[in-house]
Subunit: 446 residues, 4 copies
């Protein structure tokens, strides 16, 4: 099935299609949990990461709070406490359980949460099928938003459980092994980057409103770019290993000031999930611990690590508009996204090598790893959030975060688009984020 959510807007009048898309996305979330134990789904390994159980419930609460409560006749909440427990950050809705304490809630149990999901899925489906035209016109865009929201949490389920399991010395496996792939014989030398040139100028960026997009992708805007170059492929594990071997983690001149503070405070010496033993380098993945694939894109980098690498390589990270321009004009095919329905049956939840694209083309701009940019996550000119609690979705986070572009192997297929803006603080490591080098407009320090 291809991209149900992305096309929903055009399909709004086809309720059968909507029910199918809704059911399939809801089911996809549950597939991700299918191979986990109740104990796995209950733990919270750090304040930024939530228990699987919480994600399962919160995505359900979204439909209950913003659709059922507003449109269901004779609405009654599934459980009187769930609004308090599963509200994430909507101050307009009311008080909520503190985020760092989500791992303290053993009840509702996983079974309770699955019961909650089943009930809200059923009630929402009934509403889709039975609501009048006037209600449906109001419901449909919220439903569409709710499905994209659920897909975002599918990615977070993956990143959060990966982090949690990575701390366990037993090195548990979240998902069964994927089907093997033919290897790609790229040359991992950093002095062999294929650069693709772009002419600068005044361009338009952002969403034009025909298809679904989050509020932060618009309004459509202009921005001036100087001439620049992008690497044809993302930085690989092999590239990053050269940085480590050259003492990159020990040279403060390569790091931003707060990046260096971060590196010292963490005693960081390598990417989050890398491990070193007598057998060489390996990497913790959702499929268990595996030998480090040097040809695959480096992942789970903080922006601090990514930027230090770029400085070491005599280059820089790109801006978000440079990546958007390249995606629209020179993209050579997508890397892999997540298929929740394939997980456990050979599907993959880890980045694979990006083949070198045709000359003048840029590869791996979508899927694979999110790419850090130097662009602060900020409002586009004329941006204002929607009214009401739903307006708390994106705008209030426009502070001290960076924009990431491109999607990752944990981003559900059909969720991404070229104008998509992901955002995390520069210290975040637990997202599947890497880097593509850029250079220009003028010669850099040698």
């Amino acid at each position: 099935m291809s991209h149900p959510a992305l096309k929903m807007r055009a399909m709004l009048d086809d309720r059968d299609w909507v029910v199918d898309a809704f059911s399939r996305i809801r089911d996809g979330t549950e597939r991700l949990a299918a191979q986990l134990h109740p104990e796995d789904m209950a733990i919270q390994a750090m304040p930024d990461a939530s228990p699987t159980k919480w994600h399962l419930a919160h995505t359900t609460w979204f439909f209950e709070e913003f659709i059922l409560k507003a449109f269901e006749p004779d609405f009654a909440p599934h459980h009187e406490a769930y609004g308090y427990l599963f509200n994430s950050y909507y101050d307009g809705v009311g008080p909520r359980w503190a985020r760092p304490d989500r791992g303290l809630l053993s009840r509702p149990t996983v079974a309770d949460v699955f019961g909650y999901r089943e009930a809200v899925t059923r009630r929402t489906r009934e509403l889709i099928e039975r609501s009048g035209e006037s209600d449906w016109a109001a419901i449909a865009p919220i439903l569409e938003l709710g499905l994209h929201h659920e897909q975002q949490h599918q990615e977070l389920i993956c990143t959060d459980i990966k982090y949690a399991l990575s701390l366990n010395p037993i090195a548990p496996t979240a998902f069964a092994s994927p089907e093997p792939r033919p290897t790609i014989a790229n040359d991992p030398e950093t002095d062999d980057i294929a650069w693709v040139s772009f002419n600068g100028g005044l361009f338009e960026f952002g969403a034009d409103g025909a298809d679904f997009h989050f509020d932060n992708e618009g309004p459509r805007r202009r921005a001036y770019l100087d001439d620049f170059e992008l690497a044809a492929t993302p930085v690989t594990n092999g590239d990053f290993l050269a940085f480590i071997n050259d003492g990159g983690y020990d040279d403060p001149r390569l790091w931003l000031s707060d990046g260096w503070d971060w590196r010292k405070a963490r005693a960081a010496t390598r990417p989050l999930y890398w491990r070193s033993s007598d057998n060489g380098w390996s990497e913790f993945t959702l499929h268990g611990e595996r030998p480090l694939d040097r040809a695959a894109p480096a992942s789970h980098l903080s922006a601090y690590e990514a930027f230090a690498y770029a400085t070491w390589a005599g280059a820089r990270a790109p801006t978000e508009f440079e990546l958007e321009l390249a995606t629209l004009t020179a993209h050579d095919g997508a890397a892999e996204f997540l298929d929740p329905h394939a997980i456990g049956g050979g599907g993959r939840a880890h980045p694979t090598p990006v083949a070198r694209p045709a000359a003048g083309k840029v590869g791996g701009l979508a899927g694979g790893v999110w790419e850090w940019t130097t662009s602060a996550y900020a409002a586009y000119p004329g941006y204002s959030p929607p009214d009401g609690a739903i307006g708390e979705y994106n705008g209030k986070f426009m502070s001290s975060q960076l924009t990431l572009r491109g999607g990752s192997c944990l981003t559900p297929e059909g969720h991404w688009r070229p104008t998509y803006r992901n955002f995390f603080p520069p210290a975040a490591q637990w997202q599947c984020a890497g880097l593509r080098l850029a250079r220009g407009p003028v010669a850099l320090r040698v």
Copy 2:
């Protein structure tokens, strides 16, 4: 069944009796977990409290590490990582997983841990049955210690899960409701304390070695006591409510200096599990939230709260030897201990009112609530810990803690004895601890 562990020493030659006691205590631990969900057993609500799952595994590790490893022919560990994960604090054994991070371990699962229990219980039982006389002479005292150790963790399972569930706004119930009791019509007025007088002198205290005791209960020692008086019954919830209503939490003159710091830092205004609503005072218990029983002993007090209460009441807390003397010479029957096999079938895990004893007698000195003393937890003259890792059991904690006496309603029946010394830091609230007033040897400040 009466006090299996307490009598074990005398029964060491009766292997059938030992197997029966061993099986019954191991089974008792599992009964406590029978009504909990896997998610309940996985969470750690604060660094001092461990997941149920961890207790289930750690008590098992004790037998594996100190008995099977030393005495089982062809010993192989049940799982190579468990020694690292389930060692509590034995530096002599090796490194271990950090205590505050026990709640991060979703694996081994509860089912895995029960498998571990089953295997070690079986292997230990076989060793009991089959070991030669020489081995048995070495095994028996460690086994005896291991059973007392397991009983201690039965109490901690109760206190730790109580704390964890208490944080959940859903107010879950750990254990089914107990059978109701006839009420006790004590007069809760604090000006009506029945005081029991004791003549001072030079006394001997501590364990003499005939029955099982922990190393910290000996060697038997002398101590001089002045004349003193003890209240015939513990401080009740009704008594403590009068302290609250009189502004006890707001008057720094009643508190120790670091007690007042603690009270301010916590913004404490009442005992840990008390709750106030339009319906009056209630209390969170292992049987769910229940109306506050004013005739029952106040429980889950920190020593700071207990001592502030005593100062407010114009009295003081007793020393550990005053309580030991009273227990040996003037005790009027036990309060209730925990019967793990009755939990879930009408058994009780919450203190009940103590009837006023006969004149000259002191009631409730055993079971009910642990009683805070002003005695620092310290070594008796001539104390030295056993050799080896097992010597890390008690002695190394003799710092910045207070001794508590008497046992509680969460202490398994058969585990306690009059020389028993429990110990916790004065700020600890999550243990089932209360207070008995003392006074003397001379008039106090009015």
Copy 3:
């Protein structure tokens, strides 16, 4: 004397002029300390703020490290430990005393530091006077940078001692009272903002290199702006009071997410130096506590407070380029800068009201208060820091900070220029920062 440093570049060949500018700026720093006690100069009130004594020494170290050490024949350090103690953040130079611990150093004493200043000033002056042409060509730009660096620290001396003294319940006065001013009778109502319109387009911004500028002001660059409007005057204390009185500090919908976290963690209810008593609102200033001047620009706001105010007012904060464009095309005269030589003799170190400018003009764009922008502090296209340790001046701080524009009443006269980019984290309150409202390009949420 007008703007010695700003013109230095043109005067580089006039060594007498340079000696005079150097002497005057060095002396200005010392004038700021003239009314302080040694104890004042020793304290560090928070990690971000340094003792006066440290600033006095660090600015001296800059000349010793980057000029004397490189160019003085037979150089010997004034004191062998000072390089370690007074290096601020130059990793390329070597290790350094931890920033949060600067207040632990009672030695060198203030007298020692003044001796250090005198010696380095003298030695540097001699080098200016006596160096050959070739050396002078290398020395001059570093000297120019060192003087701008010293002027920056003049501002920090003021902001840091203001913060430190503000914590003292005695409310000490740093500087003698300034000469009184005629009052300005602006109307403080927020519904009476005079808006000035600007047409968008593609513009060039940044320094062109003819005059002195910091590296972060270049290279000169292009940026596209949409149409926008700016308020003719900054937000006043009276304006901000209306926000407070309307419950602005209690409405999470007005705040950025991490701004709301900040506000809750600090229990913030008003700007940093405001105080409320039975006599109404007052403000702690470097001239002591004074009644709040409602017509003066609101100062010592965090960006979080500034942005919440803007949202409440139905507007937004400007970008840095909007302010630069307005400064270059529509500025109606400067507000006041700092004259270090006048401090203590009637000079002022606190913002005064900005008169409403002529129609179509924008007032108070320079001096008065720094103005928060929504622009992340980031590199201009093609930016690269200078080689060597001196390259650590600006670039490595381009992370998680916002750009401020315009200078303040604590910025030394002659230091500022329209391309000047100041930068602080959004939570910073102790800088003299306020806000100018902006709106456009399209109608905002009502």
Copy 4:
């Protein structure tokens, strides 16, 4: 001059004598500050240590608050804020400036504080000279307490400034060098301890009230001691070095559990003021950094370090009553106390070697170093604090601290007596505390 304070009680009727003692002790405090700079006196290096300036003011406040305010006709406070700023911990008196923030107060300046001292000294002296008999009867015991209080703070001035200066890499000198001493040629081998035996029994301890004593030294009480032995001299630096060289800091089995946590958290590898360089071991002292004197008593040990040493040496630390008994029955002369009037003129503020005493005698039991005991700092039977705010002097600190006995080289001469109980938490290193070994009543683990 001999012990003015100790004899005051007998001299209460001799007002001239009292004025002389009062003046001399007040002056002694000021002598300790005579060689410090204002900057030295302003800094606070950790929450537990106060600025010299604060001690100078707080001891003055004590006389103002408890004597002048109560007895001076037409009393007016010297400064309205000083009661708030210089109250240490007397909740009964009112609110106070937070202890960890004492270093933030640059005002009042040192000069202001000396003015405060002068005024209160003068006013108090006038009150001593002129008060009627009835007032004098009430004033005299408070004055006596105030002088002992001031002497306590003389010791704290020394320990706190020592700690503060020790952090400065310049290694400043607080006091001029003392006159040299003849060396003592003790044998530093630990296997050569001279043990002194004591017979156990029931003894009386504590103050009987004839001479001045703090409330915590009484009421006089009985305690039973078993037979025990004490080392004839304290543990020396040479002894402690053997412990270090034997890996004492790396063996958890030697440490209390929270001692080991402390040692790990601090990465402690040696006593607080020891330093190691190519030139061997040295020690930071109030007279600057000096080579480590291996024959001198080890000082500035935490109780954790002291107890680990004792365990390593196959012995234990004594109880407070063992030391009191030895002091009363077998003491062979005092070690050195502090003479504030000699500081700066050859006087010594650092421990010197203790000569081996005559057989059966114990040396160095008074002066030199405080000796850690295993006795928790707790109330004697029948203890109750005085009424009113002055009752907050000692009793409210009876929690989580240990008793130390014997006085140190920083304890002012005339301040100490055999029943004196000093108290600090076991982690405290910055007091001049060491250890004397004890053993018995029975053989310890080998």
